[in-house]
């Protein structure tokens, strides 16, 4: 159904849905009025909202509270001075971690790699310059007010192990170990919001929010506060009570209420002198709830402030409570405070177009057209000024000359870059050594790798991963490698041979250098331990590379190498989707290689074999269908095609696997032969067919000898063709040497001197691909063909001196050509 927009988005949201929901609007308004009139003074917020931050700042300055209760982790109260330190610059995040040292929750081995490794949990609370929470902290400093964080520590929500529940039902099942409170999800899923979005035609929650609160002009902070509170009250009244109970909201609210009451009593501050700044949903918490909040479990709690980045706070990084355009809202915040709110549109449009100008011609005229279009769109949609959605739509209409899904890919990337920005935060040095650095040194000691620090020289270690301590060392080194910390190099990777045991063996060369610590400091952005940072980085890479089957399969292998069981399932899922979505032959073949490698130690790693088998079969099918697409790739891409084809052929030839359709592979190789105009690739494909026994060595030789009868311009490509054959085929050498030699012989007889010179370097390069034994076998055939027996002694040269000189000249000429051709 079309959007039935009313004349203006200024209409009261409650009026818009009146009659469509079983909601008593009068009772709801009365409830809102009563809460807003309460002492302490409640102010609703949405995280990362410039409009809220602006109105909240005004409210704080107007009311000048003595004490401010702020929704933030209560265990981080001591960090407030560091957060408002002049040398701290957002984006930063409060990072809280919890380690269950004594396994009081019984999750060791379930939420950690082994029963003797304590379970760890972490959570982040990002703060941007325009986060209402951050603005509250800065304003409180100006006012001399005290701020108290009131949120329940995240680890208090972790559910302990249930004895009879199988591990997979917990770690990877539908019940998360620690519920992630998502107040915005509760709002978006509420009947009120759904009905409002339908009536007003909002396509996303962000569009709704921006239309209702960011782009609208309010008479003052009081009106803004009342409107936002009413909106949240309506959402809460129609939210799914089951979800509210399940996601930890009620437990957190009990804690908030208790903290507020106890602090007021303890500080002897009158409620009228205090203010509560929290998510709008929590304004309507049950003030009469008799149940106490949960007590946080015993264990090691670590809390710190770490630098953060706009990318990590953006939705693109996968952060659930993300901000869709951190840089755009930063600009909005800065210009609004400077009294230049009207310039936001032009500033952002110009920022996008400037970014896009690197790859396409976008002029100032485009900027003018986009701005005009966005303003008119906003008017048509009943908004007083354009929101980000209007700007995006205008950019696509005015600057994308075709289908946005194809012609607009570059523009979309440009928009994302300009929306998100590249800002990275700074944390005051007063906070001391970063936790990841401490964790690194502690782990080196724990794993017995401390020797590497004793002197600056390389030392080698040999690990057998079947031995648990060695497995932990290996995982640690793989994590460092993934983070780019230059401590160790993997000099010998598992060979994949299960019977010899080398599947589990690794050799590492370790060497300390000053870059180790500096890299760790940079990587602290990802987490406060090597493990959590590796996990976060791999998660991010998975999100970035989700469309590339080869890379996601590689990430899956890495997740296993790094012993990150929580991520394996996710990586498996992303890889499965990538296999379905990717159409690149090489990428699919790379994925197949990684997946077959995993399959070999599936048993050892407790991987789900059936799922892996299904994924391998699907990957194989898709690779087969993608194969004809590489029939004419340019020369620089040919080596990877050969390598990909070999890996596919290897899987087929190894046999013993159900679900892999050998005939399908052969059919598509034949299709590739039919459509390939490139002699080298034709050789590669025909050679592959010979390996598959789909083409006899005689048939292959006939293809080669046919070139002897072809015109000279085709005949000279025989070297490339043969090079292609020998790049993939060994069967043709061992089984069909006779016919191959015959074909080469026919070719050489047919070629003139000039043609021979053109053809020779490639032909020589082709034979250089062979192992010595294979070359011997061919030489034997040549000898037999010419009636020569193997000589016992060095045979005296019977040719004339002139003939010998001529041979030497030919050889020199060939060597020169090969050098020129870089062969």
């Amino acid at each position: 159904m079309p959007r039935a927009r009313t004349k203006s988005n200024d209409a009261d949201p409650l009026d818009r849905v009146s009659g469509r929901l079983p909601l008593d609007a009068d009772a709801l308004r009365a409830r809102v009025e009563s809460v807003l009139a309460e002492a302490p003074f409640w102010f609703p917020v949405r995280h990362h909202s410039p409009a809220v931050a602006l109105h909240l700042e005004r409210a704080l300055l107007a009311r000048r509270p003595e004490l401010i209760f702020l929704e933030g982790p209560s265990q981080a109260n001591d960090l407030i001075p560091h957060l408002i330190d002049p040398q701290t610059r957002p984006p930063v995040a409060i990072y809280c971690s919890y380690r269950d040292d004594d396994n009081v929750l019984g999750l060791a081995g379930l939420a950690s790699p082994a029963p003797d490794v304590p379970a760890r949990f972490a959570s982040w609370y990002p703060l941007l310059a325009y986060s209402p929470e951050y603005v509250t902290l800065l304003t409180a400093r100006r006012l001399g007010a005290e701020v108290v964080f009131i949120d329940l520590p995240h680890h208090a929500l972790i559910r302990p192990a249930v004895p009879d529940q199988p591990p997979e039902g917990r770690a990877g099942g539908s019940t998360p170990l620690a519920p992630e409170p998502e107040p915005e999800r509760l709002i978006v899923e509420s009947d009120f919001y759904r009905e409002l979005a339908r009536a007003a035609g909002y396509r996303t929650w962000d569009e709704a929010w921006d239309s209702l609160f960011e782009a609208r002009a309010f008479a003052g902070w009081e009106e803004f506060r009342a409107e936002l509170a009413t909106f949240c009250a309506a959402a809460r009244a129609t939210a799914d009570a089951g979800h509210v109970a399940a996601d930890g909201t009620l437990e957190r609210e009990r804690f908030m209420l208790r903290t507020i009451r106890q602090t007021l009593a303890g500080r002897k501050v009158a409620p009228e002198e205090a203010m509560v700044v929290c998510g709008g949903f929590h304004l309507f918490l049950d003030r009469d709830d008799p149940r106490p909040p949960p007590e946080p479990p015993a264990g090691t709690v670590y809390t710190t402030v770490v630098p953060y980045s706009f990318f990590r706070v953006s939705e693109l990084s996968g952060y659930a409570a993300g901000n869709r355009a951190p840089q755009f809202y930063q600009t909005l915040w800065e210009l609004t405070r400077a009294g230049r709110a009207d310039d936001v549109l032009a500033e952002h449009v110009v920022a996008v177009l400037r970014q896009g100008r690197r790859e396409s011609a976008l002029s100032s005229a485009d900027a003018i057209a986009v701005s005009q279009h966005a303003r008119m769109l906003a008017r048509l949609r009943g908004r007083p000024s354009p929101v980000l959605d209007d700007v995006h739509d205008a950019l696509f209409t005015c600057c994308c000359k075709g289908d946005p899904k194809e012609a607009g890919i570059h523009l979309q990337r440009t928009i994302d870059e300009a929306d998100i920005g590249t800002r990275i935060g700074l944390v005051t040095p007063a906070l001391g050594q970063l936790p990841i650095v401490r964790d690194f040194y502690a782990q080196l000691d724990d794993l017995g790798l401390g020797e590497v620090l004793s002197r600056e020289r390389a030392f080698n270690i040999d690990l057998d991963k079947r031995d648990p301590p060695a497995a932990r060392r290996s995982a640690f080194l793989h994590r460092l490698r993934s983070l780019g910390v230059p401590l160790g190099q993997l000099t010998e990777a598992p060979s994949g041979d299960l019977t010899s045991g080398t599947l589990f063996r690794e050799k590492w060369a370790l060497r300390w250098g000053p870059q180790v610590e500096s890299t760790l400091i940079e990587r602290n952005l990802y987490g406060d331990t090597v493990e959590s940072a590796a996990l976060a980085k791999l998660t991010e890479e998975l999100a970035r590379e989700h469309a590339h089957a080869g890379r996601t399969a590689r990430r899956l292998v890495e997740a296993i190498d790094m012993d990150l069981p929580d991520l394996v399932q996710r990586a498996e899922q992303v890889c499965s989707q990538a296999v379905d979505a990717d159409e690149r032959f090489v990428s699919l073949a790379q994925a197949l290689t990684s997946l077959t490698l995993l399959e070999r130690y599936a048993v050892f790693r407790n991987l789900r074999r059936a799922r892996l088998d299904e994924l391998i079969a699907r990957c194989f099918d898709r690779a087969c269908f993608a194969l004809p697409g590489v029939a004419a790739v340019p020369e620089e891409q040919q080596p990877e095609v050969v390598s990909a084809l070999l890996s596919l052929a290897e899987v087929v030839l190894r046999g013993g696997r159900a679900g892999l359709d050998r005939a399908l592979f052969a059919e598509h190789v034949r299709q590739a032969v039919g459509s390939s105009p490139v002699p080298f690739l034709r050789g590669v494909f025909l050679g592959t067919l010979t390996e598959l026994r789909e083409l006899s060595p005689e048939g292959l030789a006939a293809e080669l000898s046919a070139l002897a009868r072809a015109p000279a311009d085709r005949l000279v490509t025989a070297g490339d063709f043969l090079d292609g054959v020998l790049a993939v085929s060994r069967t043709s050498i061992l089984l069909g040497a006779d016919s191959l030699v015959g074909a080469v012989d026919e070719l050489l007889r047919a070629a003139g001197w000039e043609d021979f010179l053109v053809m020779l370097p490639r032909m020589r390069a082709a034979f250089e691909r062979l192992h010595e034994r294979q070359r011997d076998s061919l030489a034997g055939c040549v000898a037999a063909r010419y009636g020569l027996a193997e000589a016992e002694e060095v045979t005296e040269l019977r040719a004339s001196v002139a003939a010998a000189a001529r041979l030497a000249r030919i050889d020199r000429e060939v060597a020169r050509i090969m050098e020129r051709w870089d062969l």
Binding site: P2, A4, K7, A369, H373, L377, T397, C400, G402, R618
Partner: protein, 390 residues
């Protein structure tokens, strides 16, 4: 033998069809009551020369609540029907473009409703959707600008009365909307005649020294359409591209709407063929799914696929439904099943390029086979079509 009466032999005199008899009426006539009801209820000021405000145009195209109006002296309630099934943002972008400096180019695959939308926008904005130029390889600059009544020019010399205005000139004089269909079928020289019209909003007539410029009234703008399959034929110059906002019209976005369209249109066609054959909903669903997935190059469960060279439009799906019904009626049991769809599908997908056969086979192996394990309809479809693709 008596001579036959000449009166009996003469063919009946051709009389112009009455309004009710014409084969097709333009949108502004067909939907005159809706346009008038919207005009009477319009609370916003339309841009100059527009008959309706942008919001009323939007409601006309996308449909809305029934409106009370006075038509022919009677108070009536007029339902505002939906004319275009597509994303609202597309129509908003198109309307806003027409109110701006730039012209509008609707681009998309064949059968996506570009001309349909263009006609309705012109009807709603200027009350006349017939100021139209049909772009072809034979379109000349005269078709775009103006031409002369040669006989009168010989007799009287070039005078304003002897000038034959093009639809462009008429639209400029009235502040109306010019429709330029299939612009990329025209050769580049002819397309470039539009550059000055879109920049200067004027046409120069050098033959008339005292009236040598025709300037556009406010409200004049151009809606052009271009088929993405023809874009490479005569691609627009960079100068012309800059003067157009491109609005891409995709295929019907959601599966449910497409199923409904196929269902309704197939039923109408079956009735017109007097076929008693039934098209069960699961078969329509299967058919719409296949066409959608082939067209998009991606299955609902995320499998990427090669796209065939044919458009695989909703219209093609309707064609297959009809053929399947005919097949079932004359050679089968009367009811269309997945097997009939399978038998008639290849002809619709593989038309110009035999490589499309491989595309179809890929779809059958990668997508249909996976579903066949769980769904009987898909199994029947898969088992029937696969041998035919070997």
């Amino acid at each position: 033998m008596a001579k036959k009466s000449t009166a009996q032999e003469a063919p009946a005199a051709v009389t112009p069809p009455t309004d009710g008899e014409v084969l097709r009426r333009p949108a502004e006539v067909l939907y005159a009551d809706q346009l008038e009801a919207l005009r009477q209820n319009d609370t916003e000021t339309p841009p100059r020369s527009w008959r309706l405000s942008p919001r009323a145009v939007l409601t006309y195209v996308l449909g809305g609540k029934a409106l009370k109006a006075k038509l022919d002296g009677k108070a009536v309630e007029v339902p505002i029907t939906r004319k275009f099934y597509g994303d609202e943002a597309i129509v908003e972008g198109a309307i806003v473009t027409l109110a701006s400096e730039r012209a509008l180019l609707l681009v998309g695959e064949p059968g996506t409703g570009k001309s349909w939308l263009s006609e309705h926008l012109a009807a709603a904005i200027s009350g006349n959707s017939e100021m139209t130029i049909q772009g072809t390889a034979g379109t000349t600059e005269e078709h775009i600008k103006y031409s002369w009544n040669i006989a009168r020019v010989i007799a009287e010399g070039p005078r304003p009365d002897n000038l034959i205005p093009s639809p462009t000139m008429v639209a400029m004089r009235t502040g109306g909307i010019l429709r330029f269909e299939e612009i990329t079928r025209c050769v580049p020289d002819v397309q470039d005649a539009l550059v000055s019209i879109l920049s200067d909003k004027a046409i120069a007539v050098p033959e008339l020294p005292h009236a040598n410029m025709v300037r556009a009234r406010p409200g004049f703008n151009v809606i052009a359409t271009a088929n993405t399959r023809d874009q490479g034929v005569n691609e627009l110059s960079a100068a012309l591209k800059r003067r157009f906002n491109y609005v891409h019209i995709p295929f019907v976005a959601d599966h449910k709407t497409e199923v409904a369209v196929v269902q309704q249109r197939s039923a109408e066609l079956l009735a017109s063929y007097d076929l008693p054959t039934r098209l069960p909903p699961p078969v329509i669903d299967l058919l719409a799914t296949i066409f959608r997935e082939l067209r998009e190059g991606k299955s609902a469960d995320g499998v990427s696929l090669k796209k065939p060279s044919t458009a695989c439009s909703t219209a093609e799906a309707i064609g297959v439904a009809l053929n399947s019904a005919l097949h079932a009626r004359f050679f089968g049991a009367g009811e269309v099943g997945p097997a009939e769809v399978a038998r008639n599908l290849a002809g619709a997908v593989v038309k110009e390029d035999l490589a499309d056969l491989a595309v179809l086979k890929e779809y059958v192996v990668l997508v249909a086979r996976k579903r066949a394990a769980k769904d009987r309809s898909w199994k029947e479809f898969h088992d029937t079509i696969l041998p035919a693709l070997k």
